[in-house]
């Protein structure tokens, strides 16, 4: 194989693709460069997620090579010359990289250990608006679990049908649901539990790559996303995702509308003194909400804001990060806060956008 490319372009595409390269297995720590049919493609995978991005390059000789991803990124980043050429030297089992006067010989990795990638199929795909899809991901992604011992919760349940996209994520302490209405009906639907990591990677790609539409192909045990010439595939998570509707309380004791930006700011401030797993306390009294926190040996903080609360005063505790995530996911508008009692789940909604729900479990306070 022999190709040459602009350094800027090569670096940008390498940085994009190498994000998914594995940091563990040796063959998977590589980035594969494939020059075929006059095109060049870069590939990386960590076995769960696989990414393919195109590279604008001049192909002098076709072929496939596997190089250590991080080393290659570091080398290309360090170059000052505007163009780079890469030539495979089979006898030496390396690649000669030349840029200006700089010359590198980088040993190739064994391509045989690099897995084949799923090819996009022509049929059974659904095309969705990329921006709407990614915005929906970003509203719920924080709630996905990072605890690998409960794999089913590390995914985001994605459903698409007709004019609606719905995504649900929960780590069992909070649950996020976002339903996005689409302008145009979809030509088909799907439902899949996709690893949150893959969707977050997709969100990053959509922000980088031009492309208004995203093609989604859900197969037996994997999903293939295509945006422009970029293809991201991921295995799907098996197992029964919880039915979130059963978890939503039927009614609430208190429903309060609070100026969104204001309560989020208060929570951010007061959270600074809720360290080492200390809860954030929300004390409701007629006409007033007081947010307070206390960490032994560090200090305490409190701040009140007016709310239209009526009835018996009560106090409820939340994990400060979980509460902040929920408030921030509401966005700019007013927050609708629904509560029952100190040990029952609370619901955060947007006063304007009925499509977003954030159910949050409290922390038991030892008053």
């Amino acid at each position: 194989m022999k190709i040459s490319a602009a350094r800027e372009e090569l670096l940008a595409q390498l940085q994009t693709v190498s994000r998914v390269a594995s940091t563990r297995a040796q063959a998977l720590s590589g980035v594969q460069l494939i020059a075929a049919g006059g095109r060049v493609e870069l590939r990386a995978t960590d076995q769960e997620i696989a990414l393919r991005v195109p590279l604008t390059a001049e192909v002098e000789r076709e072929g496939t090579i596997l190089l250590p991803a991080r080393l290659l990124v570091d080398v290309v980043r360090s170059l000052s010359a505007p163009s780079v050429s890469l030539e495979q030297r089979p006898a030496e089992q390396d690649v000669e990289l030349v840029a200006g006067n700089a010359q590198f010989h980088i040993r190739t990795l064994r391509s045989e250990d690099f897995p084949p990638f799923p090819e996009p199929e022509q049929e059974g795909n659904v095309t969705v608006p990329a921006r709407a899809f990614v915005d929906t991901v970003l509203r719920v992604a924080n709630s996905a679990s990072r605890d690998e011992t409960r794999p089913v919760l590390t995914g985001i349940m994605v459903s698409a049908s007709e004019r609606e996209l719905r995504m649900v994520a929960t780590d069992s302490y909070r649950l996020s649901v976002k339903e996005t209405q689409l302008e145009h009906p979809l030509a088909g639907g799907f439902e899949a539990n996709v690893p949150a990591r893959a969707l977050q990677e997709l969100a990053r790609l959509v922000q980088q790559v031009d492309g208004e539409t995203l093609t989604v192909g859900v197969r037996q045990n994997q999903v293939v996303f295509q945006i422009g010439d970029v293809i991201l595939s991921s295995r799907l998570i098996e197992g029964q995702f919880p039915n979130y509707r059963q978890l939503l309380p039927e009614s609430y004791e208190h429903e309060l509308t609070i100026a969104g930006g204001e309560v989020t700011d208060v929570v951010r401030r007061i959270s600074l003194l809720a360290q080492k797993n200390a809860p954030l306390r929300l004390s409701f009294a007629p006409g007033e909400l007081t947010v307070s926190s206390q960490t032994p040996d560090i200090g305490e903080a409190r701040e009140s804001l007016p709310v239209a609360f009526q009835g018996e005063p009560f106090e409820i505790g939340f994990n400060p990060d979980f509460l902040r995530d929920g408030l921030e996911a509401v966005g700019s508008g007013d927050v609708l806060l629904k509560l029952i009692s100190p040990l029952r789940p609370g619901l955060i909604q947007s006063a304007e956008d009925g499509g977003f729900l954030y159910l949050i479990m409290p922390i038991r306070l030892n008053v």
Partner: protein, 354 residues
């Protein structure tokens, strides 16, 4: 069975070995500067009260005739490699802690005590370094035993014997109980390991939380089932500098921080390591030490990004007094498992009925 092997006054011994002076000389290894601290001291110097991390000025007063040598880490690394190669040649993979100590899992080693005695002699013969050995059923007991016999110690002990024998010692003898925990134990009236052994679990968990409280009690009884981890998992890397003169100018501090961040990132790139948490450490002239950290979205070892965040942290903190030490640290490496760990949980956090 686990062995802990610990070189006696390692750096000072390496220095003595290549000098003409007799082996029993007082040697202090330290950079010579107005505010440097002792890196290590030979046993001859320790007899005068000189110890590691002591301000050099004080060490010189205590032992004015000591030979002062600047640390030469390249040499220490060379000797360290040679020494541990001898040991692992017979004991297999080791868990290293710094250049001068290591744990070995003795499972499957025939006649381990004899092998260890032979190794100590072989290391001494080939490198000139004396190793103290502790043998026990756990890392905890082994570590304390190696310390017990120093220098040139060779101590083996069972768990129950350790629990009896160290009952009169202060809790801070136990690895994992630092000055802060020791201070909090003292507030509970617990001044010895024996008293800690007799403290009800509830008292400890009420003061230290469920996990830490239970852990303290386990340690007091010398229960430890942590394995010998032969592959070292790097948690963080840092680069810091103590100034010869305290620095008050923010511009000057920023300049130093830029350089520290650049050096740190260069090292990380060589290792192919990226972190997500960028932190600074600032020690003021009154020894107040402050750390500030920020976790960013993606793993990085990019100099520009790390420098930018570190500078923001420094500006946000705005040191209120002259600064004697400034450092930058990168943690949360991606080798740890690709992404952030599960968030810590409050024991009283309620969960949805999934």
């Amino acid at each position: 069975m686990i062995a802990h092997l610990d070189c006696d006054a390692f750096y000072a011994s390496v220095e003595l070995l290549r000098r003409p002076e007799p082996r029993d000389k007082a040697v202090i290894v330290a950079h010579d500067g107005p505010r440097s601290v002792v890196t290590t001291a030979s046993y001859a110097a320790r007899r005068y009260g000189v110890g590691s991390a002591m301000p050099l000025s004080r060490a010189k007063r205590l032992c004015p005739h000591a030979i002062l040598v600047p640390p030469d880490f390249a040499s220490y690394k060379r000797v360290s490699r040679e020494l541990w190669a001898i040991v692992s040649g017979r004991l297999g993979a080791l868990q290293h802690l710094g250049l001068d100590e290591a744990y070995a899992d003795l499972t499957g080693v025939e006649k381990p005590v004899r092998v260890l005695r032979e190794l100590v002699a072989e290391v001494r013969g080939r490198t000139g370094i004396t190793v103290s050995v502790g043998i026990g059923p756990s890392r905890l007991v082994a570590k304390i035993c190696s310390d017990l016999g120093k220098p040139a110690g060779f101590v083996a002990m069972g768990r129950e014997e350790a629990a009896r024998r160290f009952a009169g010692h202060p809790p801070k003898l136990l690895p994992g109980i630092g000055p802060k925990s020791a201070e909090r134990l003292r507030e509970l009236g617990i001044e010895t390991i024996g008293q800690l052994q007799r403290t009800p679990l509830e008292t400890l968990t009420a003061r230290f939380g469920a996990n830490h409280g239970a852990d303290l009690l386990r340690r007091a009884h010398f229960h430890d089932d942590s394995p010998v981890e032969t592959e070292r998992v790097l948690k963080s890397r840092s680069n810091e500098r103590t100034f010869d003169e305290d620095v008050a100018s923010l511009a000057e501090l920023e300049e130093v921080l830029r350089r520290l961040a650049r050096e740190l990132c260069e090292g990380l790139r060589r290792r192919g390591t990226r972190g997500r948490t960028i932190a600074i450490k600032v020690r003021l002239d009154d020894w107040t030490t402050v750390t500030r950290a920020r976790t960013i979205d993606a793993h990085t070892n990019d100099t520009a990004l790390v420098t930018e965040v570190a500078l923001e942290l420094l500006r946000a903190y705005a040191p209120p007094r002259p600064v004697r030490l400034l450092g930058v640290r990168l943690a949360g490496f991606d080798e740890e498992g690709g992404g952030a760990a599960a968030p810590p949980r409050n024991a009283a956090q309620l969960a949805l009925p999934l």
